[in-house]
């Protein structure tokens, strides 16, 4: 009898134990998690939600494109030394290997009160947790005449890798020897700080070999080169002397598509043959439309412990759309890192655990200065609980001493590995 009591009571106690720990994990298995956007942020978030939950979380990824095209390295396509196909990866592993439900569609609206998402196809999906990773929107209206010039095909942006990237190279290929390529850069922050300067190098590399009398004009709204400045300036002087001209504090206000004339806030007009005007940027359209962009109406403020929007509960925002902490660039590498912090935090929260109080982010960014040599910038960012932000660790991170072909090999190594880490 005593023994029966013991067993009975123990079983009851075990039942209680199960009763208190069970529902927490059940929440993780029951929750509908929708990831909106399959770029470096969204794809990584979907995969790591599955990994960190030991394949128990229910994850759906909504992405309009059939395959993933990398923005990093796409300047090599503009310069003609690589093809877009080399930068394209399949989404198949996310569904086949990781059990993520893939929906090829666009999100037209999010209702944070009803916790639903509407798709372009007309379907409505419910969510318990939404991850919004839509990249940037190009603010075409920030430059007068840009929207029309882009529609007419006169100016291309090619700041989201795809058909415009290929078309921009074709414009270069069609340009006369002795022509001028002009790239304009908006005030920071914008997607990929060193990207425009790398593009100038890639265009110069192409022109040097094919149309050596031509010019590359860099029209920068900023006070100075915003990333890897000394390294880029040395490359322009040594590798592309007389070809690349850097003009700081040139803020573009308008473009005339007919005469290919660029107008500035202060300086005289400039004409060019191939125009690549990058307008100011904001959080991706769906983030702005949903009212998440509560930093100047442009970027999304998030809690850096879990990347939850400060505007809406249960909507987590990753990548280029967020208002970054100081020294945190808008890069694909960073978006991948945001995604892992957010995925771990969501798994912890749905399991009834505390979220990691001390997350870490790194950034690594390689820029090709010709078709082989590369320079990098790297940084490590630790969460600072007192200031509730990420801070670059003093004494860590840094730049390449000079361009090298070894780093050119590492840059491709980085690409193959981050594609596999995000999608494989």
């Amino acid at each position: 009898m005593d023994r029966r009591h013991f067993i009975g009571n123990s079983a009851a106690a075990l039942g209680l134990l199960a009763g208190f720990s069970g529902p927490a994990r059940a929440n993780l298995q029951k929750a509908e998690i929708l990831v909106i956007g399959g770029g470096y942020g969204g794809a990584t978030a979907a995969k790591y939600l599955r990994l960190f939950s030991d394949n128990t979380a229910r994850v759906t990824l909504i992405e309009p494109n059939a395959s993933f095209v990398s923005c990093p390295l796409s300047n090599l396509v503009v310069g003609g030394s690589r093809t877009l196909a080399e930068l394209t990866s399949s989404y198949d592993s996310l569904s086949k290997r990781h059990g993520i439900k893939m929906i090829q569609d666009s999100v037209t609206s999010i209702d944070p009160d009803k916790k639903t998402v509407k798709l372009a196809s007309g379907k409505t999906l419910r969510y318990d947790k939404a991850i919004v990773s839509p990249g940037v929107a190009l603010m075409m209206n920030s430059i007068e005449g840009l929207a029309q010039a882009n529609k007419a095909g006169v100016t291309l942006q090619a700041w989201k890798a795809g058909p415009e990237t290929v078309a921009l190279h074709k414009q270069l290929a069609a340009m006369r020897d002795g022509g001028t390529f002009a790239i304009s850069i908006p005030e920071a922050p914008y997607r990929c700080p060193p990207g425009p300067y790398e593009r100038a190098c890639q265009v110069a590399n192409y022109l040097k070999q094919n149309k050596p009398k031509s010019k590359v004009l860099i029209l920068d709204a900023n006070q100075d080169v915003t990333s890897k400045g000394a390294l880029f300036k040395k490359v322009w002087a040594e590798q592309y002397p007389g070809m690349v001209e850097y003009l700081p504090k040139y803020n573009v206000t308008a473009v005339d598509a007919k005469t290919k004339t660029i107008k500035f806030e202060v300086q005289d007009d400039i004409k060019a043959d191939v125009l690549n005007l990058l307008p100011a940027m904001s959080a991706g359209e769906i983030a702005v439309k949903t009212g998440l962009a509560n930093s100047n109406g442009r970027w999304v403020n998030v809690n850096y412990l879990n990347f939850e929007s400060t505007a809406q509960k249960d909507i987590h925002v990753l990548g280029d759309s967020i208002q970054v902490a100081p020294a945190m660039p808008k890069s694909g590498h960073m978006a991948n890192q945001h995604a892992k912090v957010a995925a771990a935090a969501i798994v912890a929260e749905l399991s009834g655990w505390e979220v990691n109080p001390a997350p870490v982010l790194t950034n690594t960014c390689y820029s090709f200065v010709n078709n082989k040599e590369v320079i990098h910038v790297a940084s490590v960012h630790q969460y600072n609980a007192a200031e509730k932000t990420f801070k670059a660790v003093p004494g860590s991170g840094g730049l390449s001493p000079a361009p090298s072909t070894l780093e050119g090999i590492y840059a491709w190594g980085w690409a193959h590995n981050i594609w596999a880490d995000s999608l494989g």
């Binding site: 005593d2 123990s10 106690a13 990994l51 960190f52 892992k340 399991s351 490590v380 780093e407 193959h416």
Partner: protein
């Protein structure tokens, strides 16, 4: 006999106590702590592969043939400057020794 009868009751109250407070929290803390460690090691995955399994012949040095001890020694050498490199000496300086140890334990060959 009486003592034997009481024992389970005490046990039950302990179980309940545990399940309501510290015991469950302890179990959760162990799982949560493991999750934090996986998250920390995942900061390396962009360049060295998910769970340290890098793309073979991808261009980036592979790390998954190293034991945890070997990996920690390399990470510390990068941090101190004893080993030269391109990015690794700069990144290793951003992690505490404790964090490097966690990373090496997570990603080292088992």
């Amino acid at each position: 006999m009486r003592a034997k009868y009481l024992k389970p009751a005490i046990l039950v109250s302990i179980y309940i106590g545990i399940s309501l407070s510290s015991g469950n929290a302890l179990a959760q803390n162990a799982d949560a702590s493991q999750l934090y460690k996986r998250g920390l090691a995942a900061t390396c995955a962009n360049c060295h592969g998910t769970n340290g399994k890098g793309v073979v012949d991808g261009g980036m040095p592979l790390i998954n043939y190293l034991t945890s001890e070997q990996m920690l020694a390399q990470l510390k050498a990068f941090k101190s400057g004893a080993r030269e490199g391109t990015i690794m000496p700069q990144l290793a300086k951003g992690y505490s020794d404790e964090q490097l140890e966690i990373i090496a334990n997570q990603l080292g060959k088992k």
